[in-house]
Amino acid sequence: MKDLNIYMCGVGGQGIGLLAEVMLRACYKAGYDVKGVDTHGLAQRGGTVVSHLRIGKKIHTPLIPPGKADIVIALERLEGARAASEMLSEEGKIIYYDAQYQTIGNRLGKFKYTSVEELEDTVKAKNGDSVRVFEEDLSDPRMQNVVLIKKIIELEWIPGMDTEKVSESLGELMKGKILEKNLELLNKEVK
């Protein structure tokens, strides 16, 4: 069993807490020792939010050092580019949902918002893989989480983490209509 450092990121309010909790549980169910930690507090107000998840045979600490993430899961493009630059390891993999949330610096014209090419070039420079995900007709932005997880299962980036384990985890965290909608999305046939 190979140790994997999984770094998740997004913008405060995007629901990274749920993404992190589902990943933590699904990886545990897949038989890994798991250690996770989320950002709380100030940064939740529209700042960069991150969550560290380390899985393997025996893990000591939840924190992933810079440049040591084997897998990056980003809920937003600019945060994906930031993580690709600062956290992704050599030959690491990144999957990002292509939501675009400008920063105040972008709107004031002090910094340019990241292009897809910029992000992908950063990953290529590390000999890594990048996967862009975007669904035009998603009713609720908070469901972007599940779209990403579904894709990770398809790509088989995390051995042992499958639809069943993710469904079980979702069932532990939500109920009723929201659960139904998420499970429906997770099990939807890929065209």
Binding site: G12, S85, T103
Partner: protein, 626 residues
């Protein structure tokens, strides 16, 4: 789906993935804690979040959000000397507020026991500094335990409660941010039969009155208790040696590392990776230090480095110990100022080891990390009443006005595009600081901010001072009806705990002559009030109120038939003044490459507070498709 309270109150032992803060809440129920008090502050509020999920009728404990950390400490003290096991918890800098009472606790015979849980914040993730509260423990004769993981936080709480009851003294459980928020698999024990509250205070258990000479026997007793606790730390399973490859000669020397809590875990990873036969002594029951254990460790080594997070406390004590006992081991320290700052993650502990013993811990290949220069600074939420307030207030400020910030979501006003609230010390500092800025100053206006929770927490004494001296500045109370930044806890002015205490009436009763109240969405009125208040000679207050929209929207979304509204920019009317983006600064607005302004509907909450800011009225509610 199992609710948190069901897990917390399950009488049987169970195992599951749990966060450090929630694990501590479970530990409290297992230990039979009767009274728990706090004031909200990251990284600890999730302890209360968990405790508050338990329905009132199922609770056999009392929890309260006190007005501030000092009051919280006193409530816990009072219940402890009545014979009830009690807990007080707060964030790192909360200890400064609590300190006046906390430093006395070690002198007192706490018959019921009292555990102080500190959420220290190395790395200043959500605090104004990264102060090392182990200093306070030494000053106050209070033992310290420092868990490295959620499992240890759970186990050490149980141990702290046991020791505290046994020795009738306070014990500090010092957590750090990423122990509080870490998640892992934890095995919990059973919850026994709960006992009732006690009311057994008896002054014969004391004395509890430290005046002049009575202080000395109390202080002596505190030190004697610490001697007893030292024996406990000598045999504590929380102090242990990690030796994955044994300790063998490397270049003719035996090497060792002494560390504690989370940095020790980083070092374990370093040792596993390096495959070097170097021993690590992890001291998590850290004060009083297990001197015999440390002396034994030093005696078996030629060289040792002490790697602790933040200040050099253990290091100096270990060096003194080695000197007193004439131990010949060479003891190294961290070399740079940077090593005293921030969290010691595994890359950083490796660098420290590498700087000390380059031939053993090679300076690795430079990490592939590149700094990404496109910052995303935290901002006020879409619809936040503070944004409307800053936008409206800015218009009223004469050139050269000094604005004094305080702690709360409104601290974010310092960032672009508002740049208001130019200095910050602590909770409630703004009125005192503002007063100082007015003295001998007839040139520049002074305006101070304070949040409503902070108003009650530590704001009042300085406000009373301002009234007494009639200091010539304007206070803006940024009222959002909650303690927002830390997750919407109630306070004295919200009416969720007891009857709402009115800020307006309080101010009137202490003699504030100029008081105005306005909803911040009424921007032109707010601007007018600020102008008026700045022209008022002497102390004046404007209460700039609007409910926290994050909290409000959470409640709205749960309602049956809720429809999300949005605003839109009429592209025919828009003349690209960019007020919405450059002055008002709601994050929902998008500036497109072609220069046009549109709305990000994932962010916009349809509050419409942006509408009055557009000089050509191009922003309006969107007619939603049916």
């Amino acid at each position: 789906m199992k609710k948190i309270y069901e897990q917390l109150t399950d009488k049987q032992p169970w195992e599951g993935l749990f966060m450090g803060n929630h694990a501590i809440a479970r530990a409290m129920l297992e230990a039979g804690v009767k009274v728990i008090t706090s004031y909200p502050g990251s990284p600890t509020p999730e302890i209360a979040e968990a405790l508050n999920t338990v329905p009132k009728e199922m609770r056999n404990y009392h929890f309260e959000w006190a007005t501030n950390e000092k009051v919280a400490t006193e409530v816990a003290f009072g219940s402890s000397i009545n014979g009830n096991l009690s807990v007080v918890f707060f964030k790192s800098v909360g200890l400064n507020v609590a300190a006046d009472s906390l430093v006395q606790l070690g002198l007192m015979n706490l018959t019921g026991g009292l555990v102080v849980i500190l959420g220290d914040d190395p790395g200043a993730n959500s605090s104004q500094n990264e102060q090392d509260n182990r200093h306070f423990a030494r000053m106050s004769y209070i033992p310290v335990m420092e868990p490295a993981t959620p499992t240890e936080a759970y186990k050490m709480f149980l141990e702290a409660a046991k020791l505290s009851k046994k020795h009738q003294m306070p014990v500090i459980l010092r957590l750090t941010t990423h122990v509080c928020h870490a998640k892992e698999l934890i095995s919990f024990g059973a919850i026994g039969e709960s006992k009732g509250f006690k009311a057994d205070f008896d002054s014969k258990n004391g004395p509890y009155l430290p005046i002049t000479k009575t202080v000395f026997p109390l202080k002596k007793k505190a030190m004697e208790k610490l001697d007893l606790i030292r024996k406990e730390s000598e045999r504590s399973p929380f102090n242990k040696i990690y030796s994955p490859f044994g300790c063998k000669d490397i270049n003719g020397k035996k090497l060792g590392i002494i560390s504690s809590s989370m940095p020790a875990l980083s070092i374990m990873e370093n040792l596993d990776k390096a495959g070097k036969p170097v021993d690590l002594l992890q001291i998590n029951f850290s004060y009083p230090m297990p001197e015999e254990m440390i002396a034994d460790f030093l005696n078996g080594k030629d060289e040792v480095i002490v790697i602790e997070e933040l200040d050099r406390l253990m290091e100096y004590e270990i060096k003194a110990l080695a000197f007193d006992r004439d131990i010949k081991c060479r003891i190294h320290s961290r070399k740079t100022h940077e090593d005293i700052m921030g969290e010691l993650t595994s890359d950083r502990t490796w660098d420290i080891l590498s700087a000390c013993w380059p031939e053993v811990f090679e300076s690795g290949i430079k990490p592939v990390a590149q700094p990404f220069n496109n910052p995303r600074i935290a901002q006020m939420c879409p619809g936040c009443g503070h944004r409307s307030a800053f936008h409206a207030i800015k218009k009223a400020l004469p050139e050269g006005t000094v604005t004094v910030g305080d702690i709360g979501c409104h601290s974010l006003g310092f960032f672009e595009p508002y740049n208001m609230g130019e200095m910050l010390l602590s909770m409630g500092h703004s009125n005192g600081t503002a007063a100082g800025l007015t003295i001998g100053n007839d040139k520049r206006k002074v305006l101070a901010f304070i949040g409503d929770s902070t108003f009650f927490h530590a704001g009042l004494p300085a406000i009373i001072n301002a009234v007494l001296y009639d200091h010539d500045f304007t206070l803006v109370v940024m009222e959002n009806g909650t303690t927002a930044m830390t997750g919407h806890q109630p306070h004295a002015g919200t009416g969720e705990i007891g009857e709402k205490i009115s800020i307006d009436k309080l101010l009137e009763s202490i003699g504030v002559k100029f008081i105005r109240r306005v909803d911040t969405y009424q921007q032109s009125k707010l601007t007018e009030y600020i102008t008026e208040s700045l022209n008022h000679k002497g102390f004046s207050v404007v209460i700039a109120s609007h409910p926290c929209m994050l909290k409000f929207m959470k409640q709205q979304r749960k309602r049956e038939g809720f429809v999300q509204k949005h605003v839109e920019v009429d592209q025919n009317k828009c003349e690209k003044h960019l007020t919405c983006i450059e002055d008002f600064g709601c994050p929902s607005f998008v500036k497109n490459d072609d220069g046009s302004i549109t709305v990000n509907e994932d962010l916009c909450i349809g509050d419409g507070s942006c509408r009055p800011t557009c000089p050509v009225s191009a922003i309006d509610f969107k007619k939603e498709a049916k």
